[in-house]
Each structure stands twice: as C-alpha cells, then as structure tokens.
C-alpha cells in the first residue's frame, strides 16, 4: 500500500481495488448496527488541515476518522492563503510537534499535499483532500465505489465526464483512477475547458454531449462556475447549459441502466436540472454516504498498520 494518498495516478489497480473492497466492508460493518464505531484507530490522531473551506469534505473525513475511533483535530488554516505561503511549512512543523499520525489536507495550491508529504517537514501520512486544480483522490474513489455498486466491475464500462475539466481536480483524479480500473472514460466539454494536451490522456474527447449519451453507463456532471464566463471560457451560462447541461431531454437518451453522478455542490439549472438531479437514477446523495466508507478505508489502510520502523524490523527478521 502507498504511504501517502496524493494522487490516484499513484494507485496500482491492486491498491485501488483494495481500497474499494475495504470500503465495501466498512459499509457492511457500519450500516444498521448498534455501535457504528470501530476501535481500529484508537490512539491515532488525524488532523483535518483545511486551507480552503469545504464543509462537506471535512465533515466526511471527520466522520470517517471518528468511526474508526481516531482523535480528530480540525485545523482550519483559512486566511493563511497562498499570499502567505510559508504558513504551509510552519503549519506542518506545528502538526508534527503535536504528534499527528495522519494529515488530511485541502489547499488551493496544486501540489500542496505533495509538498507536505515529500518536504520532510512532517512524518505523518498525508491524504490529499483536494489540491488546487490537481487532484482529489478520495472523491474519485467514492465515485468509482458508487459506480461499482450500481454497475459491477468497471472494466469496459463507459463513463462520461462532462464540464469544466481544465479546472477540475475531480476530473483529473477520476480519469487516472477509472482508466486504471479498466473503464473507458469520455471527456465532454467546450474546447476552452479542456487542458492542452488532453489528447494524450487515456480518454476519448468529445465536444458534443448528445453524441455520447446513447452508450454511456454513467454520466458525471462537473460543477461549472458561472464566473468562468468572465474569462471567456464560454459566452453565457445559458449557452453553456444548452450545449453541455444535463436536462430531461438528454437524460432520456441515456440507457435505462445508466446512472448520474455529481461531486457537488451542484449548480442546479447550470450543468444539471433539478428533475435530473432528483431522479431515481441520480446517485448524488449516495455519493455522500459512500464518501465516508471510502475515507474510512483509506484511513484504515494508511494508519492502522505498523509504522515503517516496525515493518522494516519484521522484514529484517523474516
């Protein structure tokens, strides 16, 4: 198993499946039982280090860590924005002094989690809870988990991801993870919202949403910020939703079994209409509960086992 969870690109197929299978057990263990808590991470300290507001992700990690009996410290570093850059190092040193075993970090700067994990400032395991426009690995894992629960193994499944790919850490993490798991990923967006060089990603690219819906197994709608139109990424919110929004008409073109995902928070009326978001084939609410299981799995696999010293001592003895 990897030491830090920074990017889904670091996950082998075996690692990814181990996390998903473990999440499946977490779901079975905590659903409908008298005591939802497991004693597994008793005595371990997990710090939620959030340089950016995200109540839903922070809460999800907090619930996950607490269900495993970890001590959870919420360290909101908002205001220590990138303009005061050194705060990342100072904060890391503070957390190290406090004895954090795991750090869940959300930061507006791409690579912040990577820096935290590799700079030598802190010894703790680092879980990336979203870094800039780079990655959001647990979101992709919960998406894959949700899709797998509905459709079975992802091999050969056709997953369509629609929207602001260039600014989306969710899209990057999903492309890497879903392709590792054998799915065929299709990115659909106006060309302005696709990064340069996307043709070298392990995906198909389409500009026309209608053309790819008929054989989609799952459609993931990405959040599109209205402000993007001020930077000329698209002319108007109305034109965007007309060309790339998922409405009832487009929803009807999907196969009966196809499901609809959204990482949230949704812009209802922009990338997705309310009736589609609330339809029975929308798994958006389920994604939230699955997020807890996936994060429990990640925390368990990264924090429950031996520290490196013990591991190497054992290997030496074997």
């Amino acid at each position: 198993m990897i030491r830090h969870l920074l990017s889904t690109a670091d996950l082998s197929r075996a690692d990814a499946l181990l996390i998903l299978d473990t999440a499946e057990e977490m779901a079975r263990l905590t659903a409908g039982r008298s005591v939802k808590k497991l004693p597994t991470l008793r005595g371990r300290t997990v710090v939620n280090l959030f340089f950016e507001d995200s109540t839903r992700t922070r809460t999800s990690f907090e619930v996950a860590a607490k269900r495993l009996s970890a001590d959870v410290v919420n360290f909101s570093a908002k205001g220590s924005s990138v303009s005061k850059g050194e705060s990342l190092k100072d904060t890391a040193l503070t957390l190290a002094a406090m004895g954090a075993d795991g750090v869940v970090v959300r930061h507006a700067a791409s690579g912040a989690a990577y820096r935290l994990a590799t700079s030598g400032w802190i010894d703790a395991r680092v879980l990336n809870a979203g870094d800039g426009t780079h990655e959001h690995p647990t979101q992709a894992l919960l998406d894959a988990f949700t899709i797998r629960r509905h459709l079975g193994p992802l091999d050969g499944r056709r997953i369509v991801i629609v929207g602001d790919v260039i600014h989306s850490r969710v899209a990057r993490s999903n492309v890497a993870l879903l392709s590792t798991l054998g799915a065929d990923v299709v990115l659909v967006a106006p060309p302005t919202l696709l990064p340069l060089g996307v043709e070298q990603w392990p995906v198909e690219v389409a500009y026309d949403l209608d053309g790819v819906l008929a054989d989609a197994d799952a459609v993931m709608m990405l959040r599109v910020q209205r402000e993007r139109m001020n930077a000329a990424f698209f002319p108007s919110a109305r034109e965007y939703s007309r060309r790339y929004g998922l409405d009832v008409r487009r929803f009807a073109r999907l196969p009966e079994s196809a499901i609809v995902l959204h990482p949230g928070p949704m812009n209802r009326g922009m990338e997705i209409t309310a009736d589609v978001a609330d339809s029975p084939r929308s798994v958006i609410v389920e994604q939230v509960s699955n997020g807890v299981y996936v994060r429990m799995a990640a925390l368990y696999l990264m924090l429950a086992g031996a520290d490196d010293d013990v591991m190497s001592a054992q290997e030496g003895a074997a």
Binding site: G85, S110, G111, R115, T133, H134, R169, L196
Partner: protein, 435 residues
C-alpha cells in the same frame, strides 16, 4: 589589493587553442606568447586550463537596493567573480526601481566600491516598471552609470505604443531596449510551461505563444523604427525560429538564452519543488534542443544568467506562492560547457564570443577605459578567466558566494570550474576561491 599586480599565466590554452603564456601587467595584457619578461611577476601555472576573456552578464539581479536579504551588490558580484564574470548588468527591478539617475548611480557606485566586477546598471523602461509612462531614460544614460541597456525585466513592456516610443527614444544615446517577452493576458496566474504536464499537474499553463507573439511584434516594431532590440531569456523553439528569420532578413535583433533553459526541462516541475519555478518557465526537451542549436548557429547571440536570488522562505512553500527565479552566476560556465562544449556544439572561442564579447557589445561596454569583452591581445584590459574543463563538481548550494540558496543544480554533477578571475589584472578569484 594593488591595481598593479603582475601575473604571468603559463601554458594556458587561449580560447581553448594552443598553450601560450599570458602576461598581465599594469591592468592590461602586456604580452601573449612564449619567453615573456616575468620580472616581478607572480607565476600561475595554467597547464591544461582554458583562458577566456572575463565573462560579461547582460542579465543579473543584484537585489540591492531593497532586498538585501536576498543579495547585495557585494555578494552578487562576488558570485559573479566566482563564476568568471568581470562585468554584470544589474536589472532594474529593485526597491526602489532603478528608474532614475539617482538609483542607477547608487548601484553603479556600490559596484565600484565592492570591486569584484564592473556593475553596469540597467535602467527601467517605464516608471516603477508599471508599463504606463517612460522613465527618464536620457537622464540615466547621461548619469555616471552611463546606462545603455533599458529593461522592465520581470514585466513585459506590453503596450505596443510605449514599446515603439522606447525603441525610438533610446536611439539618441545608442541604447537598447531588452524586452521581457511575456504577453500578460495570456499568462495571468501562469505557473509553468503549458503542456501535457501542466494539465496533469493542475498548474496554470504558460503558453510558448505568449513569448513568441511579443518577440514577433517587437522585431517588427524595431524594424519599422530602425532601432536595436534585445530579447531577454528566449526559451522556446518558436522564438528561435522567429529570431532566425529576422536575422536572415538582416533585422537588428539580438537575443539571449539562460543556462537553465539550455539544460533543465519542465519535467522537474513534477516534484512541485519551487526551486524549478522560473520566468520564463522551464520548457520541453524539444525547446532545449532548439535553444542549443540557436546558440550554436548564432541565432541566439549570448548566454545571460538571469541570476535571480530569493530568500529561503520565498521558495520553501507551495508552488503557487513561491517566487520566480533561480541562481545562475556561479554555475553558468559549467552549464555552458556541459550543454554546448562537451556536446560539440560550440568551441571555447564560441563561448568567449557568446559570454564575453557579444554581451559587452550589446551592452555598449566594449569601449573606453573600463572596456569589457575585449580580445585576449596585447594592450587590452586584463579581464581574464581561467577555466579547468577537466574538473567536475557536485553542486552544493550552501557553498556559494550568493546570499541565496535557490540553486536548481543542487546535487547535480557539472563539469568545469573557474580557477581564477582577473579584473583589470587584479585577481578576484584565485585557486577557485575569492580573493
């Protein structure tokens, strides 16, 4: 330190050619050849070493006044001497900005007091580098500093009208505008070369076209008004092609490339280690090959370091928050040997041309009492550097004359090294150490 030290350098390969002796007396080269009069001379056995004219850097950030925590004129020129330089052009983006005669004279005087290399201040093109109105270019030219190079480096003079006027105005005193070619709208918030990698790393891309579009525009502007144009730190294959075409048409453009753009590629950014954050950004391997070829065939006239010191806290942080820039003075000749000489693209005479004579010519400091970039000939100022091409070293950023440690070559093994530097006959570096 006597100005009138006499040194006989024996057996050095002049411009990498046949071994000969070189006599430095009274600040000038008093003899070249065999059997020279060594009366009162310190003998320096230079067998196996290459002797070049003192290097001239057209692009150095000395940070004084304003950021003396990063570098001072003294430490910056010491680093220059350690790198074999006898003259540096100090960029204008200090605090206050070098946009008046007062500031450029202060920097120039600090250089003379330090005594490690001639400091030639670069004047800002626009007041406060703000790109709004012209600075008093004439006053800076007429000052004791005798400014001939003007640049808003760090910022692009993006307003086409302002750029045209600057190009025209400096003709009156044979000045040159050195353009930092970066279209600002195309590079808002940009963090690294725009490529497949920038898309994967989630770092805002910095397209090559943002550099190339300005270079193309300014070449056309310079041709239109009949002015000289110098292009700072050219970094892309497209830029090389545009300049090559302009030179084929006989247009008066010169261009520089930095050592780091000759060696390093954007792949280093994958570490998110801000030591590799620089403006313009590190580019692709194809771009590196193109700038090497351009430097070899003369499309690119010179190597300039863009030595840009930053304190630790400005680099030891997340990528977006980090400052742009890397050190370059002390490693420049080694990187050029590694990328150009050892690859057979350039001989040592070519290195002397691109790191000494040409930059001195462009900066108009190749004449007068303190002339730089002159040939190694009798009667010329004794600005000389001895390089050991057979040496090899692992770069240790803590062993630096610079106040800063943002060295992108840290831990890399590089060939060559400066054994001695002479500024008008007086050693500033001897046995590889500052005098």
């Amino acid at each position: 330190m006597s100005e009138h030290q006499t040194t006989l350098i024996t057996g050095a390969r002049i411009l990498g050619g046949e071994p000969a002796d070189l006599l430095l007396r009274d600040g000038v080269i008093a003899g070249v050849g065999q059997g020279l009069d060594d009366t009162g001379a310190t003998i320096l056995d230079a067998a196996g070493l290459v002797v070049l004219p003192g290097l001239v850097d057209l692009h150095t950030h000395l940070r004084e006044p304003g950021r003396e925590d990063a570098e001072t004129v003294l430490t910056g020129t010491q680093a220059a001497a350690m790198g074999g330089f006898t003259a540096v052009h100090a960029m204008a983006n200090t605090e206050p900005v070098a946009d008046t005669a007062g500031v450029v004279e202060q920097v120039w005087r600090l250089g003379r007091e330090a005594g490690y290399a001639d400091v030639r201040p670069v004047g800002a093109v626009t007041v406060g580098l703000a790109g709004q109105r012209l600075a008093e270019l004439g006053a800076m030219a007429d000052s004791a500093a005798g400014v001939r190079v003007f640049s808003d480096d760090g910022h692009c003079v993006s307003d086409a009208v302002l750029m045209r006027r600057a190009l025209e105005y400096v003709k009156a005193f044979d000045g040159v505008v050195a353009q930092h070619a970066q279209e600002p709208r195309l590079t808002e918030g940009a963090q690294m070369n725009e490529s497949v990698l920038s898309g994967q790393l989630g770092l805002r891309g910095w397209p090559c076209v943002a550099e190339e579009a300005i270079i193309a525009r300014d070449i056309l502007l310079a041709a239109h008004v009949g002015s000289r144009l110098h292009i700072c730190h050219l970094s892309t294959q497209g830029s090389v092609e545009i300049v090559r075409l302009a030179k084929q048409r006989g247009l008066p453009v010169t261009a520089e490339v930095t050592p780091h753009h000759l060696l390093l590629t954007e792949d280093l950014v994958a570490s998110y280690d801000a030591r590799y954050k620089v403006n313009p950004p590190l580019r692709s391997a194809d771009d590196v090959a193109a700038v090497r070829a351009g430097l070899a065939d003369g499309t690119i006239d010179i190597v300039a370091t863009d030595h840009a010191p930053h304190p630790v806290e400005d680099k030891e942080c997340e990528w977006d928050a980090a400052a742009f820039g890397m050190l370059g003075l002390e490693t420049a000749i080694s990187v050029v040997q590694h990328t150009m000489v050892d690859t057979g693209l350039l001989n040592w005479a070519g290195v002397a041309e691109r790191m000494s004579s040409a930059p001195a010519r462009i900066g108009r400091c190749d004449t007068g009492d303190d002339a730089q970039g002159r040939p190694l000939a009798v009667g010329e100022p004794a600005n000389v550097v001895l390089v050991d091409p057979s040496a090899s070293r692992t770069v240790d950023s803590t062993a630096s004359a610079s106040l800063s440690r943002n060295n992108p070559y840290e831990g890399m093994k590089l060939p060559g090294g400066v054994v001695a530097t002479f500024l008008r006959g007086r050693p500033t570096v001897s046995d590889g150490a500052l005098v």
